[in-house]
């Protein structure tokens, strides 16, 4: 092993999210629909949660805790969507077990919790105010459960551009995560820290960011951590692919690739469901993860959380991302959520309701206010729009297409009918001028 002045580190970040899938709603139920968020009959949210809990959350949490106990150097980070944490609270004994096991991990002090929009929403695209409010709501939720105050932000599906970075900096965050996409990096490596290209915000947006700032001191430049998508996807997507010329993947092999990589931080960002749900247990994914920390440590590679990475390293350059980018699909753009007319119509309609919903609030008692906002915001979760995506639907790539509905069209019809019911209820809410 060659000695390193500043050891190379691996930064693990896992995304933990469950949407509230909409119950089937047909046009004849408009005006009388009661439970929007139970889920379609064959994908009831509680059942999905329980299934994922048993296949992924509980066994993976046990493994991560085991690794944290065995290796004092091991560190991870998580982002829990607010709607996921809500479901933990709501779904009985299993929900409690899942939440408790996450709490144990965080209590070791070596698992950082990141911040995102509470509703895993696309609010940034339509309303900066909503975006800021959902961030603050998320911080509260995280504090309530974990007694932690996140200082690193990751947007829904790593949606990112210069403007978002500037807004987030203005809100007082100390770092932000994004995709390490070649299109913007060009010849550069994602394995370094960067700073976003400075950009000016609309005065109104800057005002919103300042008003909703989470701390008084604002850093002059926001460090940017970029996902190493090649190595991340070797685990998240290719791990069990027998057609891949590197199959089978071993901890030893992966660690040697990490060792061979340039730069000083290898950022491995992925969905937590990678473990046990996307890659089933019988693929050996748990065994792989069990051995990975030791293999990395053997090669003198350490672990850092995003906050530690930001503190330990200096940005090497400026990254200019003028257009919106995400971590989704080959395109790394927003086409999974807003590329066809249905998605555009649905997004427009839900965010057009903002003023109507907010104007009603003063006329409602506190609990009703919460309820109204919660329903409206749960319908902003990005997954609803993802289900309407026709991209993969047409390619016949059923594996890349994950949806509880029979087709994007069914997803759209259910969404619009539910929204009609919601609008109907809004119109019934008494307003005493």
């Amino acid at each position: 092993m060659k000695p390193r002045q500043n050891k190379k580190s691996v930064c693990f970040y896992f995304q933990v999210h469950q949407p509230y899938r909409l119950s089937k709603c047909n046009v004849f139920e408009i005006g009388a629909k009661s439970d929007y968020f139970k889920g379609p009959w064959n994908h009831e949210n509680q059942k999905v949660f329980e299934k994922v809990a048993h296949k992924c959350y509980l066994p993976t949490n046990a493994l991560i805790l085991e690794l944290l106990n065995r290796y004092p150097e091991f560190k991870v980070s998580y982002s829990f969507s607010g709607v996921f944490l809500e479901q933990c609270e709501k779904f009985g004994e299993v929900g409690k077990q899942v939440l408790d096991s996450f709490k144990k991990i965080v209590a070791t002090g070596r698992a950082e919790v990141l911040c995102e929009t509470y509703y895993h929403s696309l609010a940034w695209l339509f309303s900066k105010e909503e975006f800021a409010l959902q961030i603050k709501k998320h911080l509260k939720m995280v504090y309530r459960h974990f007694r932690k105050k996140p200082s690193i932000f990751r947007n829904t599906e790593l949606i990112y551009n210069n403007e978002i970075a500037e807004f987030i900096r203005e809100m007082g965050f100390k770092g932000i995560l994004a995709e390490g996409w070649d299109h913007y990096l060009d010849w550069r490596s994602p394995n370094y820290l960067y700073t976003p290209q400075k950009t000016d915000l609309h005065p109104e947006d800057r005002r919103i960011a300042k008003t909703n700032a989470i701390r008084k001191t604002v850093s002059s430049a926001l460090p940017l951590l970029l996902k190493n998508y090649k190595l991340s996807d070797d685990i998240a997507f290719r791990f069990s692919n027998r057609g891949w010329n590197q199959w089978p993947m071993t901890a030893d092999k992966f660690a040697s690739w990490t060792d061979a990589a340039d730069g000083n931080t290898v950022n491995l960002f992925m969905d937590y469901e990678t473990f046990g749900e996307h890659q089933w247990e019988d693929t050996g994914i748990f065994e792989f993860m069990r051995h990975l920390p030791n293999e990395l440590l053997k090669r003198n590679i350490v672990f850092r959380t995003p906050s530690e990475t930001v503190k330990a390293l200096k940005p090497v350059g400026v990254l200019d991302v003028p257009y919106l980018m995400s971590w989704a699909d080959m395109e790394r753009d927003l086409s999974a959520w807003c590329s066809n007319e249905m998605q555009e119509a649905a997004l427009k309609r839900i965010f057009d309701l903002e003023r109507r919903v907010k104007d009603l609030l003063p006329y409602l008692p506190k609990t009703k206010q919460e309820e109204l906002l919660s329903v409206w915001r749960k319908m902003q979760t990005s997954d609803h729009f993802y289900y309407m995506c026709t991209k993969y639907w047409n390619d016949g790539d059923v594996h890349a297409y994950f949806s509880p509905y029979e087709s994007p069209y069914d997803a759209f019809i259910t969404y619009m009918n539910t929204l009609s019911d919601f609008e109907h209820k809004l119109s019934l809410t008494p307003v005493h001028a």
């Binding site: 119509a345 639907w393 047409n394 069209y409 069914d410």
Partner: protein
């Protein structure tokens, strides 16, 4: 390869989907370099749309067979006609044209065709015999006896689709006999394959599924009609028979009108349920919104699709169902029954169980109310249909031919 094919109808003299499919298959096979000898009950000069080197059209009566009768006009029998329908129909024809000598019985016609047509196997060079449905299966059986070449039976519809729970025993027996004798069976859908294994006891290994395709469409009819412009149009196009579910269409219409009033339901087609359907519209109290257009031909069909805001195919049992693909080609979004073969191949369509009236109405209303949904269905549907070609499907048929080699 030389293919001896026994057909029943062929464009432009045809009554329905069998002729359309047969034409597509022949075109696809020729495009892939095969030669087809197509034997029909009657050949008209306008049927010869390919060069005679690759497609030879033969009349059953020209075969030099032992049964000597006058040539029978093509398009005489609808391949969909049940035996009962045929009897009623032939009575009508005889009243109008008393001089004609048709058999009173569809089965006699089928046997006569078989006896004459199969004799072509004696002098036509061929390596495979291809038959379509029960009407020509017997000809295939006889031809195989003559030439000892493999027989492939193509099943476009079964008696269970046409007659539901009351199949005609004679038709069923002939279908079954055909499939038993055939070296391989081609089913037009997985849906049909299931019926064939379940009701006809044909082993699975013997059946290949080859879905139909659709010929490219060049007509460009836009939404033009003489109804009130603000009215939405929902179209039914097909025979008015139990199989096509016109009654379900009307029940759906009733439900839709409870939510949106400005909708006209156009029902195009004729059949034994015609009177019943007209009566039912009145009984449901929606007769003002239901218009009957009668049997449409050629361009009228394309225009009807072009005018429609939604095409609905509520079939109770549809082995394939080419009409939704034609509707999509002409720019109409479609809502189709899941009890159909076409629902296996088209993704950009709304699908529903034919008996689920509320869901059918729900989806129809969504299309009529949300241009975003209608437009997405239209654009994506068009792209999808463009990729379905008879050329590709004929390659699949060729694979079936090859499977018969050395396994007589």
């Amino acid at each position: 390869m030389n293919i001896l094919m026994f057909g029943w109808e062929f464009p432009p003299i045809q009554n329905g989907g069998l002729g359309v499919a047969c034409h597509g298959i022949v075109e696809g096979l020729i495009g892939n370099g095969h030669a087809v000898y197509l034997v029909l009950p009657k050949v008209a000069p306008e049927m010869q749309m390919f060069s005679p080197e690759v497609l030879k059209l033969l009349t059953a009566s020209e075969s030099g067979g032992f049964v000597k009768v006058a040539g029978v006009p093509g398009g005489l029998y609808s391949p969909y006609a049940t035996a009962q329908n045929y009897e009623n129909w032939i009575k009508e024809v005889k009243k109008k044209e008393p001089g004609m000598i048709y058999s009173d019985n569809l089965f006699e016609e089928v046997h006569r065709y078989a006896a004459q047509a199969s004799v072509h196997a004696k002098h036509v060079p061929h390596e495979v015999i291809h038959t379509h449905d029960w009407l020509t299966a017997e000809a295939g059986i006889q031809a195989k006896k003559i030439s000892d070449q493999p027989h492939v039976m193509h099943v476009h519809a079964t008696e269970f689709d046409r007659s539901g729970d009351n199949p005609n025993q004679t038709v069923y027996d002939m279908e079954r006999r055909g499939m038993e004798h055939a070296d391989r069976v081609i089913a037009v859908s997985e849906y049909t394959k299931k019926i064939i294994t379940k009701h006809y006891g044909v082993p699975e290994w013997k059946i290949d599924v080859v879905h139909n395709a659709v010929k490219p469409n060049f007509s460009a009819y836009h939404k033009t009609h003489h109804l009130n412009k603000t009215d939405k149009i929902v179209l039914f196009l097909g025979r008015m028979t139990m199989q096509k579910g016109p009654d379900y269409f009307l029940k759906m219409a009733k439900r839709i009108l409870e939510v949106i009033q400005r909708v006209k339901f156009i029902m195009a087609g004729d059949g034994d349920m015609m009177h019943q359907t007209v009566r039912m519209a009145a009984e449901l109290g929606i007769e003002r919104n239901v218009l009957f257009a009668g049997f449409l031909k050629g361009d009228e069909i394309a225009r009807a699709y072009g005018a429609a805001d939604l095409y609905v195919m509520p079939s109770v049992s549809e082995p394939f169902g080419i009409t939704p693909l034609e509707a999509i080609q002409n720019g109409a979004p479609v809502l189709i029954s899941k009890q159909s073969g076409v629902s296996e191949v088209i993704k950009n369509a709304l699908k529903v169980d034919f008996w689920d009236i509320d869901e059918m109405a729900n989806k129809a209303i969504a299309v009529l109310q949300h241009p975003a949904l209608s437009n997405t269905l239209k654009t994506h549907g068009k792209h999808e249909v463009e990729r379905m070609t008879w050329h590709k499907q004929a390659k699949e048929i060729e694979k079936t031919y090859l499977k018969t080699r050395g396994k007589k």
